[in-house]
Amino acid sequence: MEAKPTRRNHGESVDAGKSAESPDVGAGKLADYPWIYALYELGQTAATGVDPLKVQQDILLHIVSGLDAESGSIAMIVDGTDDVLEIVAGTDLRPGILGSRPPRGTGVFGHVIATGQPLLINGAAAHTGLPVRLHDRPDRARHSAMCWPLRVHERTIGALAVNRAPGLPRYTVADLDRGQVLAGLLALVMANHMMHVERETRLVELSTLNAAMQRMNAALEDAQDQVIQTEKLASIGQMAAGVAHEINNPVAFVLSNLGSLESYVAQMLDVTDACIAADDSSAGVVAQTAARAHALELRNRIDLGFLRTDIAALIAESHDGLARVRAIVQDLKSFARGSSDEVWELADLHAALDSTLNIVRNEIKYKAEIETHYGALPEVEVLPSRLNQVFLNLLVNAAQSIPRKGHITITTGVKDDEAWVRIEDDGSGISKENQARIFEPFFTTKPVGEGTGLGLSVSNSIVRKHGGRIEVDSEVGRGSRFTICIPLHHTHDKLREALAALN
């Protein structure tokens, strides 16, 4: 017998067998409030994170019992873009069907999802003429089944099917229509459930992503620290000549002075020994006279007055030399302090400038005269060794920009909750097109091997870390003026980062 698909209302009814309208027993419980409430409750449990498969199965069983069906199944589109169907729940299914993914567009589910219309099948599906293969089990050859698409907001998210055994009355179109309401409800519950599952997955994904980002962030910060440290070492390297000179000079004269002192002391001890011998009355008159003559001769040979004044000068100069070595070593130490032990501390910017000047002065004094005009500055909360690095960079750049002999002026002051330090030179200046690039990493106009191209880039990032900025004003042939502005009150990293992001 030919199956004749007939369309009615929004649904589709396929009557493959005898068109025996059965009494309305199908959706008896649908109007039953507790039943709907139970379904709602099941939907709620879906959102609480219990095993999703179990919840789906429970919902299905609830529906199957509600529709007086013998069996049923739910298929969901698991991947919105690919329209992949997955059987997520079912009763009386052969093993392997649950969780399987039927080929796209096949079967009753495929048909219903493709058309978006509910389907009523009475009789063997194979005879319906539909492009479907309902069941190949002979005992299911004749049965009554209903299938609804599950739609939310005009979007099909899956399908629900229920089957009734041959012994029971067949479903009717009225059942199909009433079931439509149920399908809508189920669609909401399933969508809710899927959203919940999706949210859980997203959350896991997000936290994984977050952890990965935190790791990357840490790695990035490490890398940045490395760059800053490397740049610092490079700029100390550039200072090496001055520092070596400044350390070797005092060491040289102190060493030499010690040599001279040794010989002075030897001479004086000789005289002392001779005097003691001359005083020794037990030695006999002749010997004592000889000893006296010897002592007198020695005494006359040395210039005691000279030794007296020269030894005092020698010791004072050596003291001064060693104090200078100690100072430069301390400055170097405070300057070269590692990035790991850096802490925000209240610091006197003038002291920081002076200690940096101590290191660079020896390098710079051959190129420029340094003038300082310090204003009144309160203590500012900074990372002192980092800020020293900025000062050093700007001072070295200023000196290097001076072709023969020039001036470097350092001025400080306070304006609008900001401390500023201005380092000004009368060197060669920076062209307009280069000014736009000076803070780029690796940008340098110095010959290969002389500059890393990181100095200003690192300086800029250090000043930004302080919540400040570097202003540049330069003209070719006239010189450059770099102004570092730092907030008097250090805001917390997070807040500043947030503000920086907004800017």
């Binding site: 000549a241 070596a244 000179h245 350390i247 070797n248 000079n249 005092p250 060491v251 040289a252 004269f253 102190v254 060493l255 030499s256 002075n257 040599g259 001279s260 010989s263 002075y264 030897a266 001479q267 020269d310 000068a313 020698l314 100069e317 001064d320 030399g321 004094k365 051959y366």
Partner: protein
């Protein structure tokens, strides 16, 4: 008397060097030292212009002028003064100029060792003394040569006038053979 001129922008280095050189008890000692020190290269060059100096010792890194430039000027003004460079730091370019332009005799690194520096100075002084002596002798030889060549000229004139007159042939028994 040995006049030693020392130039360094660091006064303490100058006084330490003066002490070391003036000290006659430490060996080897510079004979009869007369030490003049300067912190300014311009003052130093003025001194070299107007006084005889045996050896000039200069630092390399100085604010007004580097040591290589200064010693090159000394070389022009007083070529016979020995030149020695004493420095804590020099780049390659500085050393090249010190050797090629200033013709330094020695380069001593700071910090120096007193004994080594004194030995270097004495060696440079001896070398200079030998050079001066060598030149004096060479001049002497040249002067003598010029005397000889006058006699040679006379001989040649005589020979031209009377050929064979400058050559004497001896016989086996010691007699003079005339041709």
């Amino acid at each position: 008397m040995t006049t030693l001129l020392i130039l360094d922008d660091e006064p303490h280095v100058l006084s330490a060097l003066r002490r070391m050189l003036m000290n006659q008890t430490a060996m080897p000692a510079v004979p009869d030292p007369h030490v003049v020190t300067f912190t300014s290269p311009h003052d130093a060059i003025e001194f070299v212009r107007s006084h005889p100096v045996d050896i000039v010792i200069s630092d390399y890194r100085m604010p007004e002028m580097d040591g290589a430039t200064f010693l090159a000027m000394v070389r022009k003004v007083a070529p016979d003064a020995a030149r020695l460079m004493l420095s804590a730091f020099t780049d390659l370019d500085g050393i090249v100029r010190a050797i090629n332009d200033a013709g330094i005799f020695r380069f001593v690194a700071k910090p120096w060792t007193d004994t080594d520096l004194r030995a270097s100075i004495i060696q440079v002084l001896q070398h200079r003394h030998l050079m001066l002596e060598n030149r004096r002798l060479a001049d002497h030889v040249r002067a003598q040569n010029s005397v000889i060549s006058r006699q040679q000229l006379e001989l040649e004139r005589l020979e031209a006038e009377t050929p064979g007159i400058t050559r004497v042939h001896w016989s086996d028994d010691g007699g003079v053979m005339l041709e």
